[in-house]
């Protein structure tokens, strides 16, 4: 990976992080108010991102090429038996910490030590998943062609 490309991702991560920090998406109370249906800020944000992004992504996918002319490398999200239990487990963790993975990183930057604890936990959780992944293959039934997941 070239340094220029690295810098592009650093800046893009910076923009996204700034948005998360200033919009309430990385705020413990906003997460809880979303789940309690007391404030719709975060539903608005997620819904808005989908509503604005989907038409452009649809068009991008249809024309099939990136700006640089390469074939569009769009991540596939296959269904397998881990999607629902994994989603549920993540939802529990999101509620407990008041952070999803992006905001964990943003909150670390903001100086919230709770985020360092959550980050440490998240890395351990991902590590545990990686160790167990080979023995879960038969259970998960990930479709052929998506085995790298």
């Amino acid at each position: 990976m070239k340094n220029k490309e690295r810098l592009s991702f650093l800046i893009l991560g910076g923009i996204f992080g700034w948005i998360l920090s200033r919009s309430g998406a990385s705020d413990y109370d906003y997460i809880q108010r979303m789940f309690l249906l007391e404030d719709f800020q975060l539903f608005g944000i997620i819904g808005g991102a989908v509503a604005f992004g989907a038409p452009v992504l649809w068009w991008l996918k249809r024309q099939g090429k990136s700006y640089g002319g390469q074939p569009l490398d769009l991540s596939r999200k296959p269904y397998h038996r881990g999607v629902i239990p994994g989603g549920i487990l993540f939802g529990v963790g999101w509620s407990i910490t008041g952070m999803c993975p992006g905001p964990i990183l943003v909150n670390m930057g903001e100086g919230k030590w709770t985020a360092f604890a959550a980050f440490f936990g998240a890395v351990c959780g991902a590590y545990l998943y990686g160790l167990l992944r080979p023995s879960m293959s038969r259970f998960l039934q990930v479709p052929q062609g998506d085995q790298g997941i």
Binding site: G24, D39, K61, L72, L74, L89, T97, G109, G121, G125
Partner: protein, 173 residues
């Protein structure tokens, strides 16, 4: 109804939800179009593990060169958080967690364990599901991939259930 409360971070007023949504869509589209990478955060957790582990699954992750962007992207998120704090009243180490402090009232060591435990669920859960709020909730749904809708409904439902349990059942409204 929308963003009525100040943020925990320096009592800031949050950016309007529609503008925030538009800007996030800009990041997702810009990343796909100009850099040809699909938006998502939680795979980065596995990428970090692959830097230090030689377990078979992580060796596979490390072989996939297309994941190299994740590290600078994650660093960007941390830097942005710091800049956001510095430019809005100052950066200081804090453990403020709003309602959690007011209602549940944990000691610092308890809060560390609470956050660590939640983090474990996040790390394992997002990887098992194949994405988080960004990868499934925003990118996956925006690209009309139905498994992402299933994942999003799962984590939104489980999150709502857990918060309801913590703040409405165990600690009364």
């Amino acid at each position: 109804m929308f963003g009525e409360y100040p943020l925990i971070l320096n009592d800031l007023t949050p950016i309007h939800w529609a503008l925030t949504g538009l800007m996030i869509a800009g990041v997702v589209v810009g990343m796909q179009w100009f850099l040809n990478r699909s938006f998502g955060i939680s795979s980065g957790l596995e990428f970090l593990c692959a830097l230090g582990s030689k377990a078979p699954h992580f060796r596979q992750v490390a072989q996939d060169r297309s994941g190299a962007w994740r590290l600078p992207f994650m660093v960007g998120l941390v830097v942005a958080g710091a800049l956001s704090a510095i430019t809005s009243g100052g950066w200081h180490l804090m453990g403020d967690s709003g309602m959690l402090d007011q209602v549940v009232g944990l000691s610092d060591p308890q809060k560390f364990l609470w956050m660590f435990g939640g983090g474990l669920c996040i790390g394992f859960g997002t990887r098992l599901a194949g994405g988080c709020t960004s990868g499934h909730g925003i990118f996956g749904i925006s690209t009309f991939q139905w498994p992402s809708l299933v994942a999003t409904l799962s984590f939104m439902g489980a999150g709502a259930g857990t918060t309801f349990l913590i703040y409405r059942v165990l600690n009364g409204g």
